[in-house]
Symmetry: C2
Subunit: 138 residues, 2 copies
DNA sequence: TGTAATTTTGTAATCATTTCAATTTTGAAA
DNA sequence: TTTCAAAATTGAAATGATTACAAAATTACA
C-alpha cells in the first residue's frame, strides 16, 4: 500500500493516522510474514530513530482492537501480526517455527456450535506439524 | 480417571508413570477447565509439598509432545492445557478471559488446504468474542 | 547391592509484555 | 497565529511466564 492507501485504510477502521501508525501499517502491508513486535521494531527503527517499542505494542493492540490486522496466537512465545485480514488459516512448523499461510475456502470455515450464550467475532484456525524442509533434514 | 486408568493412559502414550506425572494427569482428567501451569501447581502442591513448578512445566511439555494432552495458545499470556484430546474447539471471551469448550462435528473440521509441502499433525480452532455475562454487564 | 540412566528440584536467567509518568505532538478554539 | 487541552509517544522500570542448568533424588536393572 502507498501512503494514501494506508491513510484511507486506517481511517476506515477509525484510527487516526499518525506518522508511527502509518509506518507500522505500511510495514505490515508489505511484509506478510507474520512478524513479531520485535521484528517490526527492529526493521523500522533505523528510519525512525525515535520510535519506541512501547509504541509498536500500543499501535498493534489498537490495530487489533479495531480489526485492522489479525493477531495470531499460534506461537506460544510471541504474538504474530498479519496485515492480511482476509479469510485464511495458518500452519506452524513445530521444528523450525516457520509460519505459512494456508488458503481456506469459505465453506471450510467451521460454523460456530457453541450455543447462544457466546458471541464470536473472530475465528482462528491453526494447523501444526512439520514442513518438508525439516522432514528432509532429519 | 482412577490411578490405574491414569497409568494405562500414560503408558499408551509412551510415558513412564512417575508419581508426579500420574498426579498431574489425574488432575487434568478431573479439571477440564483449561488450567494454566500455575493453577495446576498451586492446586497440587498442598498434597505434594516437594513438587516443583519446573516439574509441572517439564511434565506438560512431555504430555503435549506425546499427544497425551492438548496445549491451547488461545490466550497470549499463558498456555492452557486440556486433558480432553477429542475433537472440539474453544471460545475465549475477550472481556473476562474465560475459556469455553465448543463442540464440533467431525464434518466441521476444515480440511487442510496447504499443499503437499506441509505435514499437519494437529488442528486448533479458536473462536474469540464476548460471553453473555460480559455483554449484560456493559 | 551397585551403578548408570532418568527424573525431579530450586535457583537464576531470559525475554515478552505491561505499567506509568513525563514529554511531545496534534487539533481545535480564540 | 497563539493558546491550551487532549491524544499520542517515549523510555525506564516492573512484572511475570518460561527456560536453562546443575545438583540431588529416584528408578531400573545388571
Amino acid at each position: 500500500m502507498n501512503i494514501q492507501e494506508v491513510h484511507h485504510h486506517l481511517k476506515e477502521h477509525d484510527i487516526k493516522p499518525s506518522v508511527q501508525r502509518v509506518a507500522i501499517m505500511q510495514y505490515l502491508s508489505e511484509h506478510l510474514t507474520h512478524p513479531t513486535i520485535d521484528q517490526i521494531y527492529h526493521d523500522l527503527v533505523p528510519d525512525m530513530p525515535t520510535l519506541s517499542k512501547t509504541t509498536v505494542y500500543n499501535t498493534l493492540k489498537l490495530f487489533y482492537d479495531k480489526k485492522a490486522v489479525l493477531a495470531l496466537f499460534i506461537d506460544e512465545k510471541n504474538v504474530r501480526y498479519d496485515g492480511d485480514t482476509s479469510n485464511h488459516a495458518h500452519f506452524k512448523c513445530k521444528k523450525c517455527g516457520a509460519i505459512y499461510d494456508v488458503p481456506l475456502e469459505a465453506a471450510d470455515i467451521p460454523s460456530f456450535g457453541g450455543g447462544s450464550d457466546l458471541y464470536p467475532e473472530e475465528t482462528q484456525i491453526y494447523f501444526l506439524g512439520t514442513c518438508k524442509k525439516c522432514i528432509q533434514n532429519q
